[in-house]
Chain length 342, copies 2
């Protein structure tokens, strides 16, 4: 059974995946991940039986589950790091804290077409992918034992993708992950000091100066953050305050969100010659039953997407300090991206 | 001029290295770093003129600076991310905080011999390297503008080493890096709750159970931490409480420290077939002039070395959450390491 374990000093949770435990001689150095060929791609149309039974699919033609006809399809990860069938057990081991491997790990197959990656999808198609994210997050949030749902995409072998077919993943956890908690605490502290959302303040300054803006429309904006950890790091936010990626306003504005995301990813691909990248959605945690908790987050948190192209290798200094060295100023990165013609 | 910039939400500092600014087409994907050949290795004996003038060297034969005869040699990094000649300027940019690129970036050349890496050095030789670390940290701490000195080693191309010759590095910063601050805060909170050092408590439990111990002698112990982020992650600590890597006790115990470090690294190399790795020393920050600050750290912090072999690739989930997936339980890793014959 997999386990969650907590570092007693800094409060970081780790998943110990003992179920797929690896012997020392099994570590093939991650120089290059072998891509599975399209002919046997388990995520392609007509290969639906190669995945576990689907959780949800967009099937405009009312076709049967696990058959062709879908446009977006969600299936459990074949090698889940957390499982929905586990019981949630929290216990201490002497001074240490742990929890059972309860949670969810799903794969969102973005298109039946093996070669149609994010930037090549139409705004309508990309919108359906974003709606699938919203649908799955909202569905998982019904289980109040799940504190957080993280949606992320690994594109390209350097970014950790093991399948070429366009897909994203989600992992739902019974604890709030550390980086998310830091953002929640940071934005709460800022709100307490200023009675304003820190992200709204950042947006106001960024839009005013314009020097780090990548692309914007009426509702959404992408920019390279002032303290970018990585060259060409990009954040994408709703211009109006909104803590929750799944709220009715975001649902209504999906075409506008898809447009900014598509154009931003096209600009990134053009500027850096199709780099590997990760993106992830940081939204509010599950509404906890604790009184007042959600109310605070509602006013001080602001959902966003973080896009991180994989261009530099991290080493001991970054790991040891959480202190990143970025060789490209965000102003310069944003200028290249703004000027990229797509 | 390079800059330090602070993320306004989570307080993370980033070095924007605009001095070696990189254009989009200059990012060679970090698939494999080309190793410089020994013939032109700037860190080898007889090539002393290829480095900037040395800062310090262990020269038992009283030879002149920047000539052969040394055993350990410290030089400025040829491409420093922070510079000692910069003025320390802190300023705001609207709501953002930044500082000038003041600091230090040095290379510790561990041996004149190109092929003698850490695990092949004698305990005496390794002890001289550790003493060089202590000497440089203590020297840099004389400048009270420098808040922290991080010593780290990148070994092997996957871990970010660009030179093959055995060497470590240090970076001294005018701000306390985020990961270090988290540990300081975490251990302070623990002390306030329990009036005991959290590391001392961890050590007591680890030594008592023994299941995660790798190697120990009278004064030092190495073990795989309970919530290991990475497979075969190892921490090395003094058994007796000690906040400061440079304190007189550590100086006196250098041979015992060198023994545990050498044996641990030999076991790691044997078990995993010479993996790339990073190690780093987390010691107390510079004694700040603020009243009571050092006194607190003295009782609640405990210096340690973190060793992280590079065996798995991190992807979006880890970046987005600070929540690591580790496929090898630390109990199992420790068992392999304990049983490795060296």
């Amino acid at each position: 059974m997999n386990e969650l374990r907590k570092d007693p000093i800094v409060g970081r949770w780790v998943i110990i995946a003992t179920e797929r435990s690896r012997r020392p001689d099994s570590f093939v150095l991650p120089r290059m991940v072998t891509k599975e060929k399209a002919a046997i791609c388990p995520l392609c149309r007509d290969n639906e039986r190669m995945t576990p039974p689907e959780i949800w699919a967009l099937r405009p033609d009312k076709s049967k589950p696990d058959t062709p006809g879908w446009k977006v399809r969600v299936v459990p990860n074949r090698f889940p790091v957390l499982g929905v069938d586990e019981e949630l057990i929290r216990r201490g081991v002497g001074m240490f804290d742990m929890a059972s491997g309860f949670g969810a790990h799903e794969v969102i197959i973005e298109t039946p077409d093996h070669n149609k990656n994010l930037k090549d999808q139409s705004i309508e198609e990309l919108g359906e992918v974003l709606k699938a994210f919203q649908y799955r997050i909202a569905d998982l949030h019904k289980d109040k034992r799940l504190r957080y749902v993280l949606v992320f995409k690994n594109e390209g072998p350097e970014a950790g993708a093991t399948l070429e077919h366009p897909h994203s993943q989600l992992i739902a956890t019974p604890v709030t992950p550390k980086r998310v908690k830091e953002e929640l605490v940071g934005s709460k502290n800022y709100f307490e000091a200023k009675e304003r959302c820190v992200y709204c303040d950042i947006l106001a300054q960024e839009i005013d100066s314009g020097e780090r803006i990548v692309y914007e429309n009426r509702e959404y904006v992408s920019f390279c953050p002032f303290a970018s950890r990585f060259p060409f790091e990009i954040w994408l936010l709703p211009k109006k305050h909104s803590p929750d990626f799944c709220c009715p306003t975001t649902r209504k504005n999906i075409p506008l969100l898809a447009e900014v995301l598509k154009v931003t990813m096209q600009k990134l691909a053009r500027t850096l010659n199709n780099p590997s990248y990760n993106y992830l959605i940081h939204t509010a945690p599950n509404r906890a039953p604790r009184a007042g908790y959600w109310q605070t987050i509602e006013q001080d948190f602001h959902w966003h997407i973080e896009i991180m192209p994989y261009l530099v290798r991290l080493a001991g200094f970054e790991w040891g300090t959480g202190f990143y060295i970025n060789p490209t100023a965000p102003e310069e990165a944003a200028k290249y991206l703004r000027e990229a013609r797509v």
